[in-house]
Amino acid sequence: MTKAPILEVRGLDSYYRQGTDTLWRKKRTQVLKKVSFTLGQGEVLGIVGESGSGKSTLAKVILGISRDYEGEIVHHSMRPQMVFQDPYASLNPAFTVGRIVEEPLIIYGKYDVHERKRRVIDMLEDVGLGEEFLVCRPHELSGGQRQRVSIATAMIVRPKLVILDEAVSALDVTIQDQILDLLVRLKKENNLSYLFISHDLNVVYQCCDRVMVMKSGEVVEENTVDGIFDAPQHPYTKKLLLAAE
C-alpha cells in the first residue's frame, strides 16, 4: 500500500522577515511550526487552511525560494516545479508565450533550437493551446489560457513533483473544472505527484487523495479525503467544512 516517497518533510520551522526592527534587521516571525509530512509517488496531497496559515510559505520553503527554515526536507525527484496562483504575475510580460515555455529548456541547455521548438509546440498542444499562441504575449491571453501556459512552463522539464499553489483559485468555476481535468490528465500520463494548496475545499475534494489541514503554521489534522470530509476530528476542520457547505 505504501508508495515510495517523493518528498519528505520533517519538523519544519520557517520564518518570515517583515517590517524593520532596527535600521537593517527585519522582524523575524515564525510562520511554520514543526510541519512534517510525506508525499508518495503519484499521490495528490491537498493542503488547506485559511489565508495566513502558512500554505504558500510551505511551498516556497520546499522549493528553496525561501531559505529561512530549520528542519529537514528530502526530495526524491529532480527539478520540482510550481504553478502559481496569479497567472497574471507569474508570466514574464516581456516574453512571448513561446519564449516563456522555452526558457526552462534554454537554461537546461541540453537541446538545440529545433528540438526545443518541437518540445514547446508539443507541450502547448498538451495543455490545449495551439501553435498560434507561440507569438502571443501574456496580456493577450485570458486567465485560463495563462494558467495553461504556467502549467506548460512547469511541466516542460518533466518534473515528478509539482506544487500547485492555489492554481485554480483565480479562475471562474467552469474554467476551474477544465484546468483541474487537465491537471488530472497530465498527472496520469506522467505519473506526477501534486502538492495541491488551496483554500477551496470543494476543489480539494475533487482531486486530492489525502488532505492536510493547516492553521497558523501548524498541521492540525491529516487524513484521506474521505476521512477528512466524513469524519473531521479537529474543531478547526469542522469549521472549515461548515463554511464550505
Partner: protein, 275 residues
C-alpha cells in the same frame, strides 16, 4: 458592409507630447547629422566684408563680429553639445542601470550604502558639484563628459533600482528561479526587458538635463574650451555682441531651447504613453 469605428470613452487621448517631442527631436537630430557632413560655410572662416550682418539669403542666421557664418557655427556647436550629451547619458545610463539592477535585486547593506551615496550626490546642485570637480580635474570636453557622466549615475540608478525591486517581487522571477535561472540571467534577461517603459522616458529626460548642464558649464567657461565650439560657449560669446548682432544669441539660444524642448516633450510623452 458599413462599419463604424466607435471610440470607447476609455480610448487614449491623442498623445501630443509624444508626437511633438518626436518631431522636434527628429528634426534636431537631422539638423545635427547634416552639420556633420555639410555646412554652408566653414564655421571658422572669417570674412572682413561681412561683419555682423543680419540674417539674409546668403547667411541664413547672419554673421558674427568676425564675419563667420552663424548657421555653420551653430551646426558645429550643436554637434559638439549633442556628442557630449550622448556620452554623458551613455555613461550615466550604463553604470546607473548596472548599479540599480544589482542593488534593487540583491538589496541588503550594499543597497543601503549605495543609495545613501546617491542621495548625497543628488543633494548638491549638480552644476555646483560639477564646478568643484572641474577645479580638480581640469577643463575640457572629455573632463566634462566624465564628470557629468558620473553625476548622472544616481538619477538612473534610483529609477532602475525602484523598478527592479518591484519586478523582483513579481512571481515570474520566482518562476524563473524554479527553472534554474541564475541571478544574473534573471536580472538581465528576465527583468531588464520589463524596465523599458520606465527607462525610455528617463533616458529622454537625462538627455535633456545633459544638454542643459553642458550648455551651462560651457557658458560659464569651464566646459568646452575655445576654439572648439559648443552651444553654451557660443551663447556667452554672443552676449558681448547682443547690441549689434542680436541674431547670434537668438539663433544659438533657439537651438538650445529646441533641443531641450524636444527631449523633455519626448520624455513626457513616453511616460504618458506608459500610464
Amino acid at each position: 458592409m458599413n462599419r463604424q469605428i466607435i471610440k470607447s470613452p476609455l480610448h487614449h487621448k491623442k498623445n501630443y507630447f509624444l508626437s511633438l517631442g518626436k518631431g522636434i527631436t527628429g528634426a534636431m537630430v537631422v539638423f545635427i547629422l547634416l552639420g556633420m557632413v555639410w555646412q554652408p560655410y566653414s564655421p571658422t572662416a572669417m570674412d572682413a566684408m561681412a561683419k555682423s550682418q543680419a540674417p539674409s539669403l546668403l547667411h541664413l542666421c547672419g554673421t558674427d563680429n568676425m564675419g563667420r557664418d552663424i548657421l555653420s557655427r551653430i551646426m558645429e556647436g550643436a554637434g559638439t553639445t549633442f556628442f557630449i550629451a550622448a556620452c554623458v547619458v551613455l555613461i550615466g545610463f550604463t553604470i546607473g542601470t548596472l548599479i540599480g539592477c544589482l542593488t534593487g535585486y540583491f538589496g541588503g547593506l550594499a543597497d543601503v550604502i549605495l543609495m545613501r551615496v546617491c542621495d548625497s550626490i543628488t543633494a548638491f546642485p549638480s552644476i555646483l558639484l560639477a564646478l568643484v570637480l572641474v577645479m580638480l580635474c581640469g577643463r575640457g570636453k572629455y573632463q566634462i563628459i566624465l564628470i557629468l557622466g558620473i553625476l548622472f549615475i544616481p538619477s538612473f540608478a534610483r529609477v532602475v533600482r525602484g523598478e527592479v525591486a518591484r519586478q523582483r517581487s513579481q512571481n515570474y522571477t520566482a518562476a524563473a528561479r524554479l527553472m534554474g535561472a541564475g541571478h544574473f540571467r534573471i536580472i538581465f534577461k528576465h527583468i531588464l526587458p520589463n524596465l523599458l517603459p520606465v527607462l525610455l522616458p528617463t533616458l529622454s529626460i537625462g538627455f535633456n538635463n545633459a544638454v542643459l548642464a553642458e550648455a551651462s558649464m560651457s557658458y560659464v567657461g569651464v566646459g568646452v574650451q575655445k576654439p572648439e565650439l559648443s552651444l553654451g560657449g557660443m551663447l556667452s560669446e554672443a552676449q558681448t555682441y547682443l547690441g549689434n548682432a542680436p541674431w547670434y544669441a537668438l539663433f544659438t539660444g533657439l537651438t538650445i531651447v529646441l533641443l531641450i524642448l524636444g527631449f523633455s516633450m519626448l520624455g513626457e510623452g513616453l511616460s504618458r504613453e506608459e500610464s
